[in-house]
């Protein structure tokens, strides 16, 4: 066997069917055309952090446009959550489902959106596995821009999930005393906190080896964090040791703050607590994320 054939058999392992793609069949690189592209490179100034982050955010939007199925978890899943828990617990816990809904909706909204944050980590991890990260990391742009881009796309998802659930709630009989302003303020606080909270998952997305382990860790954190809170029942009925955990949980404070805003009786202390917690989470996990991003 000649070495020529050896070389070719190894390179032919992935011969792609190009028949019918006339451009590929007839393509012959023309040096002048490629040279023309290289010459026209009057290198522009590097983009500002905002411009770079917006460009990455645009990528996230494009991915939603091309793979709209991924919106399933911010539309169908939240609807299912509202229906399931309202009709499952409503009669037993509050006497009527309609009454329970007034209590439950802000909480289940928080639960659903916070649970959606884990997909940020999955998206980061998938991109690393595919190698596109190498491209981004060799670009001379503001370093956190790629991460901020993911989160901008995710903010859109959080907003969509919130709108879906509030609309379903209104149809089912949710009547918030805070009116439009209260509901929008509550949802806004939730989305802002979720943006900060997502930095935890960008860190895990960079840290863990596979998509599955990111999902696993996310569930381990998110299930207890959302269920062991004041979302479904009043914590006063829980054993003392559990109350300690529940009272310290950011989800509990977030739910109280959102409930207050939507009910037209804003709990200023809770809102402040949530904003400070969000800032701390972002400072800690944002720093860790960027450290991993630069080291990887």
């Amino acid at each position: 066997m000649s070495t020529q054939t050896t070389a070719q058999t190894t390179t032919q392992t992935r011969v792609e069917p190009e028949a019918g793609q006339s451009a590929a069949v007839t393509y012959a690189p023309v040096a002048e055309n490629i040279g023309a592209v290289l010459t026209r490179g009057d290198r522009p100034k590097r983009p500002s952090p905002v411009a770079a982050s917006t460009a990455f955010g645009w990528r996230a939007m494009l991915k939603i446009k091309h793979v709209p199925e991924q919106l399933f978890d911010v539309t169908a899943f939240p609807i299912m959550m509202v229906l399931m828990f309202t009709y499952l617990f409503g009669g037993a816990l509050a006497g009527s489902t309609e009454e329970y809904l007034q209590f439950l909706l802000p909480g289940i909204l928080v639960t659903s959106v916070i649970m959606t944050t884990m997909y940020t980590g999955v998206a980061v991890n998938t991109d690393i596995a595919k190698g596109i990260f190498d491209r981004f990391r060799t670009l001379p742009v503001w370093r956190p821009a790629a991460m901020v881009g993911y989160l901008l796309g995710d903010v859109l998802r959080y907003v969509l999930a919130s709108i879906t659930m509030i609309v379903v709630g209104l149809i089912m009989g949710f009547r918030p005393a805070g009116g439009v302003v209260g509901v929008v303020a509550g949802a806004g606080l939730l989305v802002a906190f979720s943006f900060a909270f997502s930095w935890i998952w960008t860190m895990f997305g960079l840290l863990l080896r596979s998509e599955k382990s990111v999902m696993g860790v996310s569930m381990m954190v998110l299930f207890p964090l959302t269920f062991l809170s004041n979302v479904f029942v009043d914590p006063a009925t829980m054993p003392g040791w559990l109350q300690v955990f529940v009272d310290a949980s950011p989800v509990t404070h977030l739910v109280s703050a959102v409930r207050g805003l939507m009910a037209g009786a804003p709990a200023t202390g809770e809102v402040a607590w949530v904003l400070v917690a969000g800032a701390v989470i972002m400072a800690v996990f944002g720093t860790l994320t960027m450290r991993l991003y630069n080291r990887k």
Partner: protein
């Protein structure tokens, strides 16, 4: 920092990268002159990818120094990033996006405004023969098209130095030669290309100089001509009809070429290196003399070929042992 005038695109000394127990790159010294194609030749696991990733600022070296156009890859990473581009072994384009969207995104990230970004994307797609596929998602592209888009994405920034990490691995022969033409066009325009490959013929066709690396260090360096004359210009491969005739065939080859002929693992095959330095016709004359003598000796030959030395033979000649494929490269 820009003040240092240098004609060297890459300059490394004693570069080291360790993964666990493996010294993936182990004291690598490279000097790549600007404006040329420089080939880094080595088997899987030799440390090619790891070295390129360090030079492209993707990995932090554990020891030694590396400069790209005079800028230190660790301390002046941003300055390096603004002058280099990398096309890795695994396509670094977004499969969910279309060809146009991929390039527009990168153009915007390089600071072009949206209309200019679209302009530039269109121009590149045209130059790389991807205009018809521009609005299709990349996941529908063939391997060759994907690789072309990947290289297009890399030259979008008009880099001064382009790293191509095994650019033709996994491509069919036609796509390979398209990539080769692209490389020639890029370098003709003044961009330095550092190309890693497992194929000697690829390095030979494209590179002005070649470094052969093994276990993370350079074991030979020079022009393709220099390298080939040190290892012989080719190899004669003979496949017999009757395995019983092999010892006789080996004797004939050894006698005709003046070098020992090797019995291969295949019981019908014999190979021998030809120097080709003895006559103006080079290796071909040696080969034709071998064939004539085999026929005269009554040995039936089913297959006869004269090929360039394979990477294995290069390694055999340089290290007295064959190239060992390792698996660390994938992890790097």
């Amino acid at each position: 920092m820009d003040g240092r005038v240098t004609d060297l695109a890459v300059e490394t000394s004693g570069l080291v990268k360790v993964f666990g127990d493996t010294r993936a790159v182990d004291g690598l010294d490279l000097t790549v002159p600007a404006g040329t194609v420089y080939g880094v030749l080595g088997p899987n696991g030799a440390g090619k990818t790891t070295a390129v990733r360090m030079l492209a600022t993707l990995l932090r070296p554990d020891g030694g120094q590396a400069r790209v156009f005079g800028h230190d890859v660790v301390r002046e990473a941003d300055a390096v990033r603004s002058r280099v581009s990398l096309t890795g072994q695994y396509a670094s384009v977004d499969e969910d996006l279309t060809g146009t969207e991929n390039l527009v995104l990168l153009a915007r990230l390089l600071g072009h405004r949206k209309p200019a970004a679209r302009d530039r994307a269109g121009l590149l797609l045209e130059a790389f023969g991807l205009s018809e596929a521009a609005e299709r998602q990349v996941k529908t592209y063939s391997g060759g098209m994907r690789r072309r888009l990947d290289i297009a994405a890399s030259i979008l920034s008009t880099p001064d130095l382009l790293f191509l990490d095994e650019p033709t691995t996994g491509l069919d022969p036609r796509s390979r030669s398209q990539v080769w033409d692209i490389v020639r066009a890029v370098v003709a325009h003044g961009t330095t290309v550092l190309l890693t490959t497992q194929y000697l013929d690829e390095a030979d066709r494209l590179a002005g100089r070649i470094a052969v690396i093994d276990h993370g260090r350079v074991i030979a360096e020079g022009t393709p001509g220099e390298l080939k004359s040190s290892i012989g210009s080719g190899t004669v491969h003979v496949r017999l009809r009757d395995p019983a005739q092999r010892p006789e065939a080996q004797r004939v080859l050894t006698h005709a070429l003046g070098v020992p002929a090797h019995a291969e693992a295949d019981p019908l095959a014999v190979t021998a290196r030809v120097s080709g330095t003895g006559s103006e016709y080079g290796a071909a004359e040696d080969a034709s003399r071998v064939l004539a003598e085999l026929t005269a000796a009554g040995i039936v030959v089913d297959d006869f070929s004269l090929g360039q030395p394979s990477l294995d033979e290069v390694f055999l000649a340089l290290t007295d042992r064959p190239a060992e494929p390792a698996t660390e490269e994938a992890a790097a």
